[in-house]
């Protein structure tokens, strides 16, 4: 070589750029051509620097709880509980869905009411925030695998069809999570299948899983991007200062009461003793329930509800409902997965807060079309509970989620009345 680029300086630069001076004589300067020592050094340097850099990344991520457990803790805890669920002596019911399911179904209340009429059923809440049908479908394969392996069946599976989780807006906003979530939820044979279809993507996913500890760069960049370029929050409407102060003070009091009343709670996101659901009013003190009433009075204000509506229009297209074909297809596959290990599968749409959510006529058409597509593909008629009388607008903590001790109890009672006879 003409001049060592490792000693780049201005004079070298000008040589290199202006006259490209390398002539044959210089290039053919004698060098030992078979000496492997430099390549031993280079190979070691590549391997060791990459290992050290990756180690540094792992330490940094783990110290900030940015890992599989920190991100999908509830899903993984539910997955870990599957052997115990399968070993339950009673018939099993599972409610599978989004955060609306998590907030809207109380398994212990459901079981309690069934027991009162002499039916021993154990039900579980498998509602997970942040999982759209694409991810839910992958996770449903993991559930199916374990049930099928143990030759166990669900007596009844409720599967939530959540139109707000199935929009193109929702899908686009989840893109940064796709690689990471796939590596957390898919098994190696599924990743291998991806690799055989698309080598580059397959290698990327295996690298994320085994070298990056499931955390893609997109996840991290997106996290920092949100810090630097925060997403637009719709805070158009405001409460008066007294309401805000009361809300903060009551929330603090509720936290303290929770700690007093549940000293054994281990902090799990999916807690087996509660069967994946939340606490129930029967085990709370009268004082706590009064504080809850006061809290709802200052937290379910019109201003908060209107802000929440605007925010969800932006993040999930909840009133225009432009459905994403990929998500609809995933939903259909998920239902089929459940059909493989359930005696009965019910696809339900949970109550929505119709005081604040109003579908446009075009959205209604699109929703009807989507329902038709799912029903045709699965052979199951969807039960639309979005506007049932048993649940009113005061039973929501925001525009889409039912509130604790009000909405969840009312909806669980509704399900009990509808399905008790079949169980």
């Amino acid at each position: 070589m003409n001049s060592s680029t490792s000693n780049f300086n201005e004079s070298n630069v000008s040589k290199n750029t202006e006259c490209l001076p390398l002539n044959e004589q210089q290039a053919s300067a004698p060098r030992p051509s078979k000496d492997k020592r430099v390549y031993i050094k280079i190979t070691l340097a590549i391997a060791l620097t990459m290992m050290a850099a990756m180690g540094l990344v792992r330490v940094l991520l783990d110290s900030n709880d940015v890992n599989k457990q920190g991100i999908l803790g509830r899903v993984l805890q539910a997955q870990a509980a599957l052997p115990q669920i399968i070993a339950e002596p009673n018939e099993l019911v599972m409610f599978y869905g989004s955060s609306m399911t998590r907030a809207g179904f109380s398994p212990r209340k459901f079981d309690h009411d069934l027991k009162a009429i002499g039916k021993d059923i154990t039900s579980f809440n498998f509602g997970f925030g942040g999982l759209n049908p694409y991810y839910q479908e992958i996770f449903s394969r993991r559930i199916a695998e374990q049930f099928i392996e143990k030759d166990r069946k669900l007596k009844l599976a409720f599967i939530e069809f959540n139109p707000f989780q199935t929009t193109t807006t929702r899908w686009n906003r989840a893109q940064f999570t796709v690689d990471s979530f796939i590596t957390m939820l898919a098994n190696d044979s599924e990743l291998w299948q991806i690799l055989t279809d698309d080598l580059s993507r397959g290698i990327q996913l295996f690298t994320i899983k085994y070298i990056r500890n499931h955390i893609s760069a997109e996840m991290i960049t997106s996290y920092y991007a949100r810090e630097i370029f925060p997403p637009q929050r719709e805070q158009v409407f405001t409460d008066d200062e007294a309401t805000v102060a009361a809300r903060q003070s009551l929330a603090q009091e509720l936290n303290q009461l929770f700690e007093q009343e549940y000293p054994d709670y281990d902090g799990s996101n999916w807690y087996y003793p509660w069967q994946g659901g939340g606490t129930i009013p029967a085990e709370r003190s009268a004082h706590t329930l009064t504080v809850f009433d006061k809290y709802y009075a200052v937290s379910q204000t019109a201003a908060r509800m209107k802000n929440d509506r605007l925010s969800r229009i932006r993040s999930a297209d909840i009133e225009a409902l432009h459905f994403e074909p990929v998500l609809l297809e995933s939903f259909i596959n998920m239902v089929k997965n459940f059909q493989g290990f359930s005696d009965q599968v019910e696809v339900v749409m949970l109550p929505k807060n119709s005081r604040y959510i109003h579908y446009s006529p075009a959205a209604q058409k699109r929703l009807a079309q989507a329902i038709k597509q799912i029903e045709k593909a699965t052979g199951i008629k969807i039960k639309n509970h979005q506007d049932i009388e048993e649940v009113n607008a005061d039973m929501f903590r925001d525009t889409t989620h039912l509130s604790r001790y009000r909405g969840d109890i009312a909806y669980t009672e509704f399900l009990f009345k509808k399905y008790a006879a079949q169980l």
Binding site: M1, N2, S3, S4, T5, S6, N7, F8, N9, E10, V13, N16, T17, E18, L20, L22, N23, E24, Q26, A27, S28, A29, R31, P32, S33, K34, D35, K36, V38, Y39, I40, K41, I42, T43, A45, I46, T49, M50, A52, A53, M54, L56, V57, L60, L61, L199, S200, I203, Q204, F206, T207, I211, A217, E218, I220, T221, Y224, A225, I228, F229
Partner: protein, 470 residues
């Protein structure tokens, strides 16, 4: 295959094992480079491998024919064949649809409604780079600047050499062919410099991807943004394109160094330029020198009072080289205009003193004017169409809502400026005194490890390099 993706990392690891330990002799090494380069290229679209090879094979034999031709006329005829093949490939794949659509638009303006079918062909990656590289060989042979080379495989291996295949730098045949003819081992210090350049390139690319966020926002929502946000967006794009392109080039040079090849520098702290002419001596040097040597000089250069016309034509075609769109032509024309203006002013007596002054404030002023003009140029380059570009430029010069913005908008603006400055300082350091660092063992490896960890942490491999589209 992109340099900052896992697939490229594993590809390179496997390659280096074969290259360093199994293929020890010259000819097997050339075979390995050729096959690996074609695999690398085929990872995008294997159907374009024959086009790449055919272009190289044609120029290889044309160069032989030029050398064998006894008459000037015969040599010229063969050169025209080479020009027709290379520029023809470019015309068909890159410019045909643009030409068809432009004719249709023109007829529509004249009142004729014509319907043409476009080719809608996929643009082969790196086509602008390898056709120019191949063309430089036949022109050099025609001009007598070099003798035709023996060894078709070496020639095609050099043309398709994977570190520089898809986004340059545009190598001259007289630079790369001798190296391919006698592949040498890298010295350890050179390899260390390669590691440093790869790391620097990765850092630049990572930063560029982050800058893309405000840049995309500004160019997508030009109507609704404040003046400050628009300036932030344009600055961010300036930082993005520099980080993206020079980052790729740094990685290319670094990878080549690990293989024992020397690729010339393509950028030299371009935003420190103090005139548009100076900028083009620092920005995409391999293209600007190519255009100067093979186009500007062929047009007559500075002779016969045609400098203005030749500069303008060269820059116009340089713009068109980047892409088949009016925005790129406008960008080239804009740079042609400001270079011409610089030449004109430099010739005026009143400016001569100004031009040669070494006072700091004058240097600062020259830098500020140049940087401002470069930023305006980037608006044409990045905007989706001329109309949008003009809107954005108007918005940039509207005294408006900047004051009502909160700290957040100012923070992003300041962070963008700091990042561009940091990248330039980093580059300046690499050019000036990297060898000092490279001789300090543990400090050097610490920089490499921390730099690579940063890129692994937040570098998104899904973001392609901007210059791949050219």
């Amino acid at each position: 295959m992109i340099f900052n993706t896992p697939i490229f990392f594993w590809f390179f690891c496997i390659f280096i094992l074969f290259y360093g330990f199994a293929f020890l002799n010259q000819t097997p090494k050339v075979y390995l480079i050729l096959i690996s380069s074609l695999v690398f290229y085929g990872a995008w679209n294997y159907s374009f491998i024959p086009l790449l090879c055919a272009s190289g094979i044609a120029d290889y034999f044309i160069a032989q024919a030029i050398a064998k031709s006894a008459t000037k006329q015969g040599k010229k005829r063969w050169l025209i064949v080479s020009l027709m093949i290379n520029l023809g490939i470019l015309a068909i794949f890159k410019y045909a649809d643009f030409a068809i659509e432009s004719v249709a638009d023109l007829l529509s303006v004249l009142g004729y409604q014509a319907s043409f079918t476009t080719l809608s062909w996929v643009l082969p990656v790196g086509i602008s780079f390898y056709t120019f590289q191949s063309l430089s060989y036949t022109i050099d042979v025609y001009r007598g600047d070099m003798k035709p080379r023996k060894g078709l495989l070496e020639f095609v291996a050099a043309l398709s050499f994977f570190p520089q295949l898809v986004a340059g730098p545009i190598l001259r045949a007289k630079h790369i062919l001798p190296q391919m003819h006698k592949i040498s081992l890298p010295k350890w210090l050179e390899a260390k410099h390669g590691f440093l350049l790869i790391t620097v390139g990765l850092i630049k690319k990572t930063g560029a991807d982050i800058l893309a966020i405000p840049a995309d926002k500004a160019f997508a929502a030009q109507e609704t943004l404040s003046t400050l946000e628009m300036w932030t967006g344009v600055l961010a794009f300036a930082g993005q394109i520099y980080g993206d392109f020079s980052g790729y080039t740094d990685m290319a040079i670094g990878l080549a160094l690990l293989l024992g090849f020397n690729i010339p520098l393509n950028f030299r702290v371009p935003y420190f330029a103090k005139s548009p002419v100076d900028f083009w001596r620092r920005w995409h040097i391999s293209l600007s020198t190519w255009l100067k040597d093979y186009l500007y000089i062929s047009l007559g250069g500075n002779r016969n009072h045609n400098r203005t016309r030749n500069v303008f034509l060269t820059m116009l075609l340089g713009g068109l080289w980047h892409g088949a769109a009016w925005t790129f032509i406008a960008w080239g024309a804009f740079h042609g205009a400001i270079i011409t203006l610089t030449h004109y002013l430099a010739d005026l007596k009143v400016f001569k003193r100004f031009n040669h002054s070494k006072k700091i404030w004058i240097s600062g002023l020259k830098w500020a004017i140049t940087f401002y003009l470069i930023l305006i140029g980037w608006v044409f380059f990045r905007a989706t169409d001329i109309h949008s570009a003009i809107n954005i430029i108007a918005n940039l010069h509207t005294i408006g809502s900047a004051n009502v913005l909160g700290m957040h908008a100012w923070s992003i603006f300041i962070l963008t400026v700091i990042w561009i400055l940091l990248v330039h300082i980093m580059d300046y350091f690499v050019i000036k005194s990297a060898n000092t660092l490279e001789q300090k063992s543990w400090q050097f490896w610490l920089v490499i490890i921390v730099g690579q960890a940063l890129c692994l942490l937040i570098g998104e491999p899904s973001n392609e390099f901007i210059y791949f589209q050219f």
